[in-house]
Symmetry: C2
Subunit: 304 residues, 2 copies
C-alpha cells in the first residue's frame, strides 16, 4: 500500500458524512438549503503535476481547468473558487500565472471568491491549490453507478496530452496541437451538464483511460472491457496509431475528456465515442483490433 493509500484510509475516518461520498468520487455533493453544491479541490506541484519549464500562464489555466473538469463530471455549473497560492518570488511569473488562471475562469463563468497567499521558504517547489464550487440542477452522477450491460463512452480521443508532455520532455520548445492539449485542457462543462440526467456513471479521465475505467468498474462492482482507444488525427499522425500507440494513449493522463456509462440501447445526447462495456464480475480487459492484449504494468498516472 502506498503512502497516499495509507493516508487516504486515515482521511476517510474524518469524512463520515454522506456528502463526502467516502472520498471515492471526483467531488463532494453537499445539500445546503434548497441547493445541491459540488465541491472539489486540486493541488498542482511543480515537477510533479507540471514541468518546471511550462509557461506560468498555462499552469494557471490548467489549475482552473482540472477543477472545472471535476465539476463537469458532476454536470455542475461553476459558481466560484478559492485559490491557495505560494508566491514564487518572481512577480512576473506570478502575474502570468494569474493571467492564465483568469482566462480559464472567465471562459467558464467562474469567479474567484477568496483563498490565501503565502510565501514558501527558499528552495521549495512551487505549489497551488484551487477549490471549486459548483451547483447541480439535477441528479449528480457517481463513479459507482455503472450497470452490467452498459456501454462506456468518451467525449473525445485520449492520449494527446500525454504525447504533448513527451514532446516537451525531449524539446521544451515544442508546440502544436498535442502540446496545446497538455497545456490548455478544455473542461467538458457543456457536455457534462447535458449528460448528467442520462448517464448511470460519469467521471473525467484525468489519470488515463485504463485506470479511470477500472476505477469506475471497481466502484460499480463490475468488470469492464475497453474495446476501442480513440486517437486524434494529430496523434495518429505522430504515433502511427498502431497497437503500442493505442496502449500508450490508453494509459496517458491529463486528457480531461468525460468517461460515462449508459444503457447500450440509449443514444448519448452529446458527441461521444463508444470505447467499452461493463459486465458482471471484476477486472479490466483491453482489446485492440478485436483481440485481447496484455495490460501494461502501469495502467495510468497513480498518485503517490
Amino acid at each position: 500500500m502506498s503512502a497516499e493509500s495509507r493516508f487516504l484510509t486515515l482521511l476517510r475516518l474524518l469524512a463520515n458524512d454522506p456528502a463526502a461520498r467516502g472520498l471515492q468520487d471526483d467531488a463532494a455533493v453537499l445539500d445546503v438549503g434548497g441547493s445541491r453544491l459540488i465541491l472539489t479541490s486540486d493541488t498542482m506541484v511543480e515537477g510533479v503535476h507540471h514541468l518546471a519549464s511550462d509557461p506560468p500562464a498555462d499552469i494557471g489555466w490548467k489549475l482552473a481547468a482540472v477543477n472545472l473538469s471535476d465539476l463537469a463530471a458532476k454536470g455542475a455549473r461553476p459558481v466560484g473558487c478559492l485559490l491557495n497560492y505560494a508566491l514564487s518570488g518572481d512577480d512576473a511569473w506570478d502575474a502570468a500565472f494569474l493571467e492564465g488562471l483568469g482566462e480559464a475562469l472567465g471562459r467558464h463563468a467562474m469567479t474567484l471568491l477568496g483563498g490565501d497567499t503565502v510565501k514558501m521558504p527558499q528552495g521549495s517547489a512551487r505549489s497551488y491549490s484551487l477549490t471549486a464550487i459548483g451547483e447541480a440542477s439535477g441528479p449528480v452522477p457517481a463513479r459507482s453507478g455503472a450497470q452490467a450491460g452498459d456501454r462506456l463512452y468518451l467525449t473525445g480521443p485520449v492520449g494527446d496530452a500525454g504525447a504533448g508532455l513527451d514532446l516537451l520532455r525531449s524539446n521544451p520548445a515544442a508546440s502544436g496541437p498535442l502540446v496545446e492539449a497538455y497545456r490548455r485542457p478544455r473542461p467538458r462543462l457543456a457536455e457534462g451538464a447535458l449528460l448528467a440526467d442520462h448517464v448511470h456513471s460519469m467521471m473525467d479521465v484525468s489519470d488515463g483511460l485504463l485506470i479511470d475505467a477500472m476505477r469506475m468498474a471497481q466502484a460499480s462492482g463490475l468488470s469492464v472491457t475497453i474495446d476501442h482507444v480513440p486517437l486524434s488525427p494529430a496523434l495518429e499522425l505522430v504515433s502511427g496509431g498502431g497497437t503500442a500507440a493505442q496502449i500508450a494513449a490508453a494509459r496517458a493522463g491529463d486528457d480531461y475528456e468525460l468517461l460515462f456509462a449508459m444503457p447500450s440501447s440509449a443514444k448519448p445526447p452529446v458527441k461521444a465515442i463508444p470505447v467499452g462495456s461493463f459486465s458482471p464480475g471484476s477486472g479490466l480487459t483491453l482489446m485492440i483490433d478485436g483481440a485481447s492484449v496484455p495490460l501494461p504494468d502501469r495502467l495510468g498516472w497513480e498518485h503517490g
Copy 2:
C-alpha cells in the same frame, strides 16, 4: 508595496463578484438557493506559520482552528471542509497531523468533505491548506461596518500565543498555558454566533490586536484608539504586565479572539473586554495607562 500586495491587486481583478467582498474580508459570503454560505481558506507553511519542531498533531489542530476562527468571525455554523495536503514522506508524522486535525474538526462538528493529497519534491517545506464552508443563519458582519462612537471589544486577552511562541523559540520543550495558547487556539464559534446579530463589525485577531484593529478602522473609514490591552493572568505573571509587555501583546499574532464593534450604549451578549473606540478620521492610537504611547515599528504579523 510588498510582493503579496502586488499579487492581491491582480487577484482582485478576478474577484469581481460581490460574494468575494473584494478579498478584503476574512471570508467570502455566497448566497446559494436559500442559504448563505461562508467560504474561507488558509494555508500553513512549515517555518513560516509554525515552527518545524511543533508537534504534528498541534499543527493539524491549528490548521482546522484558524479556518474555524474565520467562520466564527462571520457568526457561521461549520458545515464541512476540504484538505489539501502534501505528504511529508513520514507516515507517523502524517498520521499524527490528521489526528490533531480530526480532534479539532470533531470538537466543532465540522466534517471533512474532500480535498487532494500530493507529494512534494524532496527538500520542499511542508504545507497544508484547508478550505472551510460554513452557513450563516442571519446577518454576516463585515470588517467595514464599524461606526464612529462604537466601542471595540475582544472576547479574551491577547498576547498569550505570541508569548508561547517566544518560549518555544528559546526552549522547544517548553509547555504550559502560553504554549498551549499558541499550539491549540480555540475558535470562538459560540461567541461569534451569538454576536453576529448585534455587532456593527467583527473579525478574528489572527495577526495582532493593533494591526487587525487598524484594518477594521481602515475598512470602515474611521480612526481607532486602543485604550486597553487585556493580558491573561499567565502572561501577567511571566511578562510583569508593564508597558512593554502590553505593547508586545498588542502586536502579537495567533490569538484568534474575536474583535468586534458595537454601539457604546449596548451591552455585548457574550463575555467581552472593551479595548477601544472608533472616531471619525483615520489612523490608530495606542493608549496605555491613560497616556498615548508611540506605535511600534511593526504593528503585527504582516504576510509577505
